[in-house]
């Protein structure tokens, strides 16, 4: 896949239900996200935002319903359609920030300079030789964001991407999301507080109340 904009994929969710133990988080969920769109997931803590994102990422199996990509053209790789950034930053304590970015570059079969550019872009250029254990929570989050930049993929599934970030970091996330959407990318994110420009909002708390 050459870039996020080259994709014609759309994400379709049909009749999705999730349960944790005996508690139904949501059911009958249906939506579609296509090129350039952003969907904000809102709702109280425990309303199922993270679970929904994990289902979309293929990490958790839904109780019912299905998630599929439609509009795949030959050459679109549906297995490599998304990035998932969860609560945990996947930062290793012993590797330096640059080593970790370069690892993800090798992981996605991308050249090293892509990782170097991503480190600069997220504002870690002067912290790049610091091992993970020496990074603050916000800096770890910034390091996690480099994965989005290292390999362009159409879908970004972000779980509270601005958590732990300072004002400048939040602006960075907003910019990255805006650029991604401008090139045809799609973002589904769990957010509290300030949201993205022109985003659709889905409130999981009210969904459940209505059900």
């Amino acid at each position: 896949m050459s870039g996020a904009g080259a994709s014609s994929l759309a994400l379709e969710v049909e009749n999705l239900a999730a349960a944790r133990g005996l508690r139904v988080l949501f059911e009958g969920l249906a939506f579609r996200v296509s090129a350039g769109e952003a969907l904000e997931l809102r709702g109280a803590n425990g309303s199922g935002k993270s679970t929904l994102l994990r289902i979309l990422a293929g990490l958790t199996r839904p109780h019912e319903g299905r998630v599929r990509y439609s509009g795949a053209r030959p050459g679109d790789n549906e297995e490599a359609a998304q990035h998932y950034l969860g609560h945990l930053d996947a930062v290793k304590p012993t590797e330096t920030a640059l080593e970790q970015a370069r690892f993800w570059a090798r992981y996605f079969a991308r050249p090293n300079d892509v990782a170097d550019a991503a480190i600069k872009r997220v504002g870690l250029a002067n912290r790049k030789s610091v091992p993970g254990r020496g990074l603050s929570a916000g800096q770890k989050r910034r390091l996690a964001l480099t994965r989005l930049l290292i390999e362009p993929r159409p879908f970004w599934l972000l779980d509270e991407p601005t958590a732990a970030l300072d004002t400048e970091g939040r602006t960075l996330v907003m910019q990255l999301v805006a650029e991604h959407r401008a090139s045809g990318g799609m973002v589904i994110a769990a957010v509290h507080g300030e949201g993205f420009a022109n985003a659709r909002v889905m409130d999981l708390s009210t969904l459940k109340a209505a059900a």
Binding site: L59, A81, D89, K92, E95, F108
Partner: protein, 221 residues
């Protein structure tokens, strides 16, 4: 494919840089074998009877030691989520991590095996065979161990679960490997038990990544 290769290279580096991942298993192996002469006594013949078997048991238990952390750290810090959420197969990740840890820990175990063999009064002419047997045996111990490691990844103090799940899988390697060592110590033909042990190891390498991957997918669900 590049995903699994890069994970393999990273794990290898983390195992070396992380303060000697091999130190504890190698120390355990050496300590267990070097305590044996004191425990079984120095009457002529005692060590010849107990030595190879004790050495093989010590190798199996030493291989079990690093298993608790094999997948746990990646599960706790979100790395497994990142791997799984990017569409790379868990089978490749399990294979890459297990192989890297075997190279970092299993090979050092095999390399000190001859010293322990001599200490247990094994014939010095057979030391090369002992290295080979320990390499083959530790492969089985690590790969079967990875199944237990994956099942226990999400558990606090999962060591007991790993031991319970894994030890039955160790039995064929225990039987054939020890039989080969006794044959070598007695100057007999070790070929057949060694080949059978090798076959068990190949079976472990071929099947355990699939079982481990299934357990890991359950752990992140």
């Amino acid at each position: 494919m590049s995903g699994s290769f890069s994970v393999f290279a990273r794990e290898l580096k983390l195992a070396w840089s992380g303060g000697g991942g091999a130190a504890l298993p190698v120390g355990f192996f050496a300590a267990a074998a070097s305590m044996t002469p004191f425990a079984v006594g120095n009457e002529i013949g005692n060590l010849q009877i107990a030595g190879p078997g004790v050495m093989w048991i010590a190798l199996a238990l030493a291989s079990l030691l690093p298993m608790e952390r094999l997948f746990q750290a990646d599960l706790e810090d979100g790395t497994l989520d990142a791997y799984a959420g990017s569409g790379v197969g868990m089978e490749g990740i399990a294979l890459a991590k297990t192989l890297a840890h075997w190279i970092a820990t299993g090979i050092p175990l095999a390399l000190i095996a001859p010293i322990l063999w001599i200490m247990l009064q094994g014939p010095p002419g057979q030391v090369l065979f002992v290295v080979g047997a320990a390499l083959v045996g530790s492969l089985a111990f690590f790969f079967f161990g990875s199944i237990g490691a994956a099942l226990a990844a999400g558990l606090r103090r999962g060591g007991l679960v790993i031991a319970l799940v894994t030890l039955p899988l160790y039995v064929p390697t225990m039987i054939f490997g020890a039989a080969a060592l006794y044959a070598a110590a007695g100057g007999g033909d070790w070929g057949q038990p060694a080949l059978l042990a090798g076959a068990v190891s190949l079976f472990g390498i071929a099947t355990s990544p699939f079982a481990a991957a299934m357990a890991l997918r359950m752990a992140i669900d």
